[in-house]
């Protein structure tokens, strides 16, 4: 009987109930989308920002000093100081190793370039060797997949990227290639200190920066050409970091100024400075420096986005509660005669409140399920358009949305239920 009444009321009041369902669909879809984006966005924003380059650079301490003091990026005291290639995998062993997403070694060099089939040489050009792609199994058993390809997602490449360990091909910066009319597929020769090597131009990249003047090779090819086996100039690291606070700034000045407790907190938080500190502990002679703007903006943007999404979720919940409360109250007032009659027939207040609540909850459930799936769709659209990637669907959102929905409908029903409680059957049944 109860269910028959509920069902028939729902059917009879379908326009009003559809409005309620619609409100719920809107609210739930918005909240679902926002929460999924919010939970997925930490990663997404970071990955997005990573395209601006590595957020930590590790260099030899002397080279770093020269650059800090005199702004030197070349010459004696800079170009002749090296880090050890063998240290590089230790990055994954630091406390915050898990937060290190990608890293590549860099080795700078110079060589004389000439093109096969053309007379004479073009001249001395800068080269840099790195891992375009790198797959390795770490001593911890963890599989590593990194490479410049993931750090330079904005590159426009004509032709192809170098494969892992493809040591007889090179990629040319766009400016260098244009200036000298070198095309994909051309054969070139590089000469340094009597070492002569032949390469095929596999790709031409457009970085938009100074690298467009350079030649990109695999690390080992540069090491061979420069006779610098096992040596690297720097490491580019991309890491997920926590936004800096006062403690982090104090530590960045001098970690020794911290009390033991502070040090512990700092060390065990993924501040850029803490990660840099830990990198220096494993990379011999290395000095790790955050690339400031990027590292900081990552954290700030992340915080602001999260705040925005929470705000939208809260506002949409309040909006839904208000709309639902209006609709339910209107529906109850419209039916006050019928509900008064039920009271006259012996229904207790709570029974009538329950009747109305269940109607609303059923409608809410219906709208909630529809809204949830719609919200997942929205999340993907946001993911695709704003972050250019798929957003992982967090199960937790179902629970959170269900709880919010429950309280929103409950809260929205309060005015209607108060009206019901106060309703006197005599007032509505003897209506003249």
């Amino acid at each position: 009987m109860f269910w028959r009444m509920i069902f028939k009321t729902l059917v009879r009041q379908k326009s009003k109930m559809l409005m309620i369902a619609f409100t719920v669909i809107l609210g739930v879809s918005l909240s679902t989308a926002m929460m999924n984006v919010m939970l997925g966005v930490g990663d997404k924003v970071n990955r997005e920002l990573k395209v601006y380059g590595a957020n930590i650079t590790v260099r030899h301490k002397d080279a770093a000093l020269m650059s800090d003091l005199y702004g030197l990026t070349e010459g004696l005291g800079v170009n002749d100081k090296f880090l050890y290639e063998e240290d590089i995998f230790k990055l994954k062993t630091i406390f915050w190793g898990f937060n290190i997403l990608d890293f590549v070694p860099m080795l700078d060099g110079k060589a004389v370039l000439s093109v096969k089939g053309r007379a004479g040489v073009i001249g001395e050009v800068s080269l840099f060797g790195t891992w375009t792609e790198k797959h390795a199994i770490l001593s911890t058993g963890e599989e590593l997949a990194t490479g410049l390809k993931t750090l330079r997602t904005w590159w426009e490449v004509e032709g192809e990227w170098l494969d892992e360990d493809e040591n007889n091909s090179v990629m040319l910066g766009k400016n260098l290639a244009l200036k000298n009319k070198i095309h994909v597929g051309d054969a070139v020769t590089l000469t340094n200190n009597g070492v002569v090597k032949n390469f095929i131009v596999k790709g031409i990249f457009n970085d938009g920066g100074t690298d467009d003047e350079k030649i990109l090779m695999n690390l080992s090819a540069v090491q061979e050409l420069m006779n610098l086996n096992g040596k690297i100039s720097s490491i580019e690291v991309s890491a997920l970091t926590t936004p800096d606070n006062d403690l982090a700034r104090k530590a960045a000045q001098d970690p020794k100024s911290l009390s033991p407790d502070e040090y512990e907190t700092w060390y065990c938080t993924a501040y850029v400075s803490a990660i840099c500190h830990q990198i220096q502990e494993v990379i011999r002679d290395g000095v790790a420096k955050p690339v400031r703007q990027v590292a900081e903006s990552e954290g700030t943007i992340l915080n602001k986005t999260t705040l925005l999404m929470i705000l939208i979720t809260i506002l949409s919940s309040i909006g839904s509660a208000l709309a639902i409360s209006n609709l339910i109250t209107a529906s109850v007032i419209e039916r006050s005669q019928e509900l008064g009659l039920l009271k006259a027939l012996g229904a207790y207040n709570w029974q009538i409140a329950l009747l109305v609540l269940i109607e609303v909850m059923l409608t809410g459930l219906f709208g909630g399920i529809l809204g949830y799936f719609l919200g997942i769709g929205f999340a993907q659209i946001i993911g695709q358009t704003v972050f250019g990637s798929y957003i992982e669907i967090a199960r937790m959102v179902i629970l959170i949305v269900a709880v919010i929905l429950f309280f929103v409908t409950l809260l929205g029903s309060v005015p209607a239920i108060r009206y019901l409680m106060a309703l006197k059957p005599t007032e509505v049944l003897h209506g003249k």
């Binding site: 009987m1 109860f2 019928e338 009659l341 006259a344 027939l345 003897h430």
Partner: protein, 234 residues
Amino acid sequence: MAEKILELKNVSKIYGSLKALADINLSVNAGDWLSIMGPSGSGKTTMINIIGCMDTPSLGNVILDNVDISRENAASLTRIRRDKIGLIFQQFHLISYLTAVENVMVAQYYHSMPDEDEAMEALEKVGLKDRAHHLPAQLSGGEQQRVCIARALINSPQILLGDEPTGNLDEENERIVVDIFRRLHDEGVTIIIVTHDPEVGDVAQRKIILEHGKIIDDIDQSATFGEALKLKGK
């Protein structure tokens, strides 16, 4: 002698400066059939509401089946009403989207358990078995009022209260309804009916006249009882 089922002792209902009921004393025996008449605004509905546990008196006591209900709270009034009172209204008040039998079952639901067979039986008593699955809008006024009576009776109340139950009916339907009352009276149900219609008022065993919230006349009609408003053809 028959036992008292209802007693009003010095009952008043006061709205501001208006005394809708002024110091009413009345006792009704179980199985009686009582008419309440009087001009508009004399307090008839107010009195029925108080007897029907839908309102409480401002002053005085109402004793229903040996229980003083004048100071009970809303929940226990609901319970007493549910168990002891059957209500019929002038405007019928059927739930428009439920069929006749379902309307009867609603009263069962809030009393105990819906039981379709029992509800059908009640409809049969008022001659509506074949209309049981129609919606109120598909029934005539007289038929709707008979559904109301079936609904009022379904939980076997001790007292049947009607506030102008025939007010919206034509003479033919009025007779049918009165005839049902007559049968209920024979079964021992106490009947209290407010009416403007002298003929309906005359059928009862006893008639009280209200004016300005006071009982101005109390007429014993047992001598003529049973004669007025017989169904035509019987």
